[in-house]
Symmetry: C2
Subunit: 241 residues, 2 copies
Amino acid sequence: MLTAHTIKILQSLDKKKFRQKYNLFLVEGNKIISELPNSNFKIKEIFSTDPKNLVCKDVEITQISENELKKISFLRNPKDSIAVCELLEEPQFEDKDFQLVLDGIQDPGNLGTIIRLADWFGIEQIICSEDTVDFYNPKVIQATMGSFLRVNMVYCNLTEYLSTTENTNVGTDMEGENIYQFEKPKKINLILGNEGNGMRDETEQFLHKRISIPRFGKSQSTESLNVSMAAGIILGQLFKV
Amino acid sequence: MLTAHTIKILQSLDKKKFRQKYNLFLVEGNKIISELPNSNFKIKEIFSTDPKNLVCKDVEITQISENELKKISFLRNPKDSIAVCELLEEPQFEDKDFQLVLDGIQDPGNLGTIIRLADWFGIEQIICSEDTVDFYNPKVIQATMGSFLRVNMVYCNLTEYLSTTENTNVGTDMEGENIYQFEKPKKINLILGNEGNGMRDETEQFLHKRISIPRFGKSQSTESLNVSMAAGIILGQLFKV
């Protein structure tokens, strides 16, 4: 049984303000929930219509009805279970040899896709400007398909960060070096800018190298690629073996 | 002014059945509508809140209110104008040297993204199984960002088609050849399967070559890439110069 009070709190967790107030966020679906115990994330409680199929030791599991699940799920088609998890403490971080840096990515689907890409390519850390969409946003968590468990997410003042990092800062630019000729630096920050406006001027000033994906279609009307697709194509090229 | 009858017809065009019955589909937004006269598509009529900004000769433009636009738009945030266009006649088609072949892609966002990718890479034609989502679906048209104007879409019986094409049929397979070592055949059909089930057995039997994108992340829990992202990474590699 879910109390009205609990429902109200859980429903509020689609907003960053309330996630931070309660220090909680939601993870949906048995498959991903089962991976939580092997991650840095702490589960506070699980609500499930199907607890038998959940392997999570030492966690309180409350059986709920399909109707109750609908009330607390952020999915159009709710799955079987919802885990209420604690936010991670702000991490101390050190640069990794291959990082993504996000400057104001706004769309939750794009951030989720980029986290999923990072996981695929074994990129362990993503540095985000403070105004990048919150990765605890339920739409982001969902779009990552569980990959948020394996990628360290850091939010910080980008200008400060970029002025001190020793990685080579690489950004995309229409006039940049063709990615097919580009030689990957040993330690690299691949910087991806906002969907509409690209990266900020303050970020651009810290670029060491600029790269571009050549367009093979001949029409001038063709829109540039979506930021997550561009990221996928660039990573596909930089990780080439 | 929009009559109730017109509104009803336009609203019905989110369903394939009604698009085929009326032989019509919708294109939204001045930017893409302005490109229609240079394409194969015929505009029947335009409804616009802002006709002054539209450059479309010889087409009847009806000024409507913001409220009327909301009623006939399929977008959450309707733009300025909606063009009512005629479906193309079923094309006679000939194989091109580089084609995509879609076997049961269901998600309109994925199809739209794949059409946009095709346009970026200058791929002129996509062959679809009859159960692939209809590209006139308003969500597909939207996701293409205008690229549907430049890519020839063919729906046909795939088994029949694949048994006669002279292109090399290449599909993705976990056990396939690493895309970074793969040599692109001169005439190629890159086959992409359904989001959940991959390609059908009947399709697979026509494969000449199998390729795979190596995963660099080490976790076995990492989900495979979404079909449109996989397509982007593969195309990025095959078009390499």
